[in-house]
């Protein structure tokens, strides 16, 4: 067995352990100096990235990778022994890839962005902890473990939202987020307790195999509702989204971009619960959540664009844009769920449902890149001008050429103009959801045009316009920030130019993973 095989075997644990170790080593390494610590953190995340891609290569070849802490798979099979285990399928690794891209970009960006701040050791520790939490959420195969990682993520992210404690609004947003996410997480815990009480298991696969149409009862419904409500709230689906623009808008830009990933990890939780945990009972009429998801998606989309239209705070505006983007994912995946949960229809005869799910899942990574890039640009503008209100900005394209170009790329991508990546996923969504109901596609197209108008407004009021004396001698953002933006921008263009490649390699396994819950469940009995 060579070292790669061993690494591959241990990788699920290592992906979580590496940033966790890094987090607690950071204050120590921080004593050695500014550059040493930053290089250390980048190395930690690079190693994690390597492990993620190593694991991805295995998972994409069709395996479900499991890792049992302190035991082997056979120990889990017996009913009495409880073990924490990680179970990685296509969707998990897809989310892990998003997480690693976002956190790498954020850390590279922070190098210059956070240079002047105090308390950087704590900042990086919390950042790595947050990354750990997100990895844990998407990789774990255990419900209670999911709750623990959810809490780790939300505690770390709350502390980071309030990182600029001198800003009253930032602290307020953090407090709101904390109240909401704690209550949400407690409801998740409550429903986990319900499920544990009824089925005597915490393992997602085991629970899923025990929740059958025969056993389905009031308790299952109740815990489904609580899980769904709490996780959609944490994912920022309207009308429980109000914390999201505040939190995104008030946090430092490098944190906003990871928060995008954290929200999406909650979204992953929603999908995991709807498709896998309740995979066996998906066709019971009360559980067919497809239409609920679709309608929530539409509401999210519309509220996002309408509210973004009147925002004047740069980052808050982008946050509302991000909200609208979340709606697309829900729309796409919800359409798939509607068909999947209808006993009369099947995925085979309705290939559009599969396409819609592909679109929704593809949009997750596109949204992470596009919105992430826009947040980074907003941060760069703030860094250069110390101004966050669009009303006071203007004409900075003269001084910040690269940032302007990056913003243009982000603008085109987020509003889905060809040939950027947003267009490919939106095309998939439009050209499939219309078959469920034409109105869905129409509203989605409308929202996308409005998103364009919103972003053009930002482009004008921040970057274009006459020379303003106050901004006469602002300088281009520092190199590390440009590199971070450049990474995201080049990924956006790459994804835009080769959508077919990306859909086939990245998205297809993820879609397969959630539309075939049996393979996730069946490894328990030794099958694949």
């Amino acid at each position: 067995m060579n070292i790669l095989d061993i690494l591959l075997q241990q990788s699920p644990a290592l992906i979580v352990a590496t940033p966790l170790l890094g987090a607690f080593l950071t204050p120590l390494i921080g004593k050695l100096g500014y550059n040493v610590r930053n290089i250390f953190i980048i190395i930690i995340l690079a190693v994690t990235a390597f492990l993620v891609f190593l694991l991805a290569s295995d998972v994409f070849s069709g395996n479900i990778h499991t890792y049992v802490f302190g035991g082997t798979t056979s120990t889990v099979l017996s009913n009495t022994v409880i073990r924490i285990l990680f179970e990685v399928d296509g969707l998990s690794i897809f989310m892990a890839i998003i997480t690693v891209i976002l956190s790498l970009a954020a850390v590279i960006y922070s190098w210059a962005f956070m240079r002047e701040e105090t308390g950087q050791d704590k900042y990086y520790t919390l950042l790595l902890l947050m990354t750990t939490g997100m990895f844990g959420m998407v990789l774990t195969g255990d419900l209670f473990n999911f709750f623990v990682f959810l809490e780790i993520t939300s505690i770390a992210s709350c502390a980071l939202i309030a990182f600029w404690t001198h800003k009253a609004k930032a602290v307020e947003a953090a407090f709101n987020y904390m109240v909401i996410s704690t209550i949400g997480a407690l409801f998740v815990l409550l429903s986990i307790a319900f499920l544990y009480g009824k089925y005597d298991a915490l393992n997602i696969a085991k629970l899923a195999s025990r929740i059958t149409p025969v056993s389905f009862s009031f308790i299952d419904k109740l815990s489904l509702i609580l899980l769904l409500a709490a996780l959609t709230m944490k994912a920022g689906i309207a009308p429980m989204h109000m914390w999201l623009p505040d939190a995104y808008g008030r946090a430092p830009a490098s944190i906003s971009i990871i928060l995008v990933g954290a929200t999406q990890a909650s979204l992953y939780g929603v999908f995991r619960i709807c498709f896998t945990l309740y995979g066996n009972v998906i066709q019971i009429p009360e559980v067919s959540l497809g239409w609920i998801m679709v309608i929530l998606g539409l509401i999210t989309m519309l509220i996002g664009v309408f509210m973004a239209m009147i925002q004047i705070d740069f980052k808050k505006l982008i946050a509302y844009g991000a909200l609208a983007e979340l709606g697309y994912m829900f729309l796409g995946v919800g359409t798939g769920l509607t068909i999947l949960s209808n006993p009369q229809l099947s995925l085979a005869s309705n290939s559009f449902a599969l396409q819609a799910m592909k679109g929704g899942i593809f949009h997750i990574i596109n949204d992470a890149l596009d919105v992430g890039l826009l947040f980074l640009v907003a941060g760069a503008v703030y860094y250069a001008t110390k101004e966050s209100s669009l009303n006071n900005l203007g004409g900075i394209a003269r001084n910040m050429k690269y940032t302007t170009v990056f913003f243009l790329i982000g603008l085109l991508a987020v509003s889905g103009i060809p040939p950027m990546n947003g267009f490919a996923s939106k095309l998939l969504i439009y050209e499939s959801v219309y078959q469920l109901n034409p109105i869905l596609a129409i509203i989605a197209i409308l929202a996308s045009i409005m998103l364009l108008a919103i972003m053009v407004k930002v482009f004008y009021s921040a970057f274009l316009g006459p020379k303003i004396d106050r901004f006469q001698d602002i300088r281009e953002a520092p190199k590390s920030m440009l590199i971070a933006m450049g990474i995201l921008a080049s990924l956006i263009i790459f994804f835009g130019l080769f959508p077919d490649l990306i859909v086939n390699t990245l998205v297809e396994p993820a879609v397969k993973a959630i539309t075939h819950p049996t393979s996730y469940i069946l490894w328990l009995t030794g099958g694949v």
Binding site: E172, F175, N176, V179, I180, I183, F218, K221, L222, I225, L228, A229, T232, M233, P239, M240, M242, W243, P245, D246, E286, V287, I292, I303, F306, M307, M309, I310, I312, S351, F352, Q355, L390, N391, L393, G395, P418, P419, F423, A424, L427, E431, S432, A453, K457, V458, Y460, S461, G465, P466, K467, I468, D469, R470, G496, L497, F498, P499, D500, L501
Partner: protein, 117 residues
């Protein structure tokens, strides 16, 4: 590998090939660029010509006043959808207890829809 990269993105209901489009875009760019190059590129820098056109009104000393504020953009659109926007604005109070109220409200909605109550 090369053909894999060239493959058209097939959504099941339509096609999209960014590379072909991009190639055509480049060709047309060349044509247009040549065409544009035949035009007159010069103008008199720093003269009255380059001043902003304000129907003869004097330009402000402070150029910032020329910059239309972000909150004034899309007036016509905001005007005709005022009722939606005002309703939405009222929803976003910025207080955690209202947010939790929405959360409880949504739990109730889910319970109604899923037939628990």
């Amino acid at each position: 590998m090369f053909e894999q990269l060239l493959k058209t993105f097939d959504t099941g209901n339509g096609y999209w090939n960014p590379l072909v489009w991009g190639f055509a875009f480049l060709i047309i760019f060349l044509i247009i660029y040549i065409l544009r190059g035949r035009g007159n590129p010069s103008y008199k820098r720093g003269t009255e010509q380059t001043k902003v056109f304000l129907s003869g009104n004097p330009e402000y000393e402070n150029k910032e006043l020329l910059h239309v504020k972000a909150s004034n953009l899309y007036w016509g659109w905001v005007e005709s959808t005022k009722w939606v926007i005002n309703t939405l604005k009222k929803m976003h109070t910025g207080r955690a207890n209202d947010y939790i109220l929405w959360f409880t409200f949504m739990i109730a909605i889910f319970m109604l829809l899923l037939g628990v109550i």
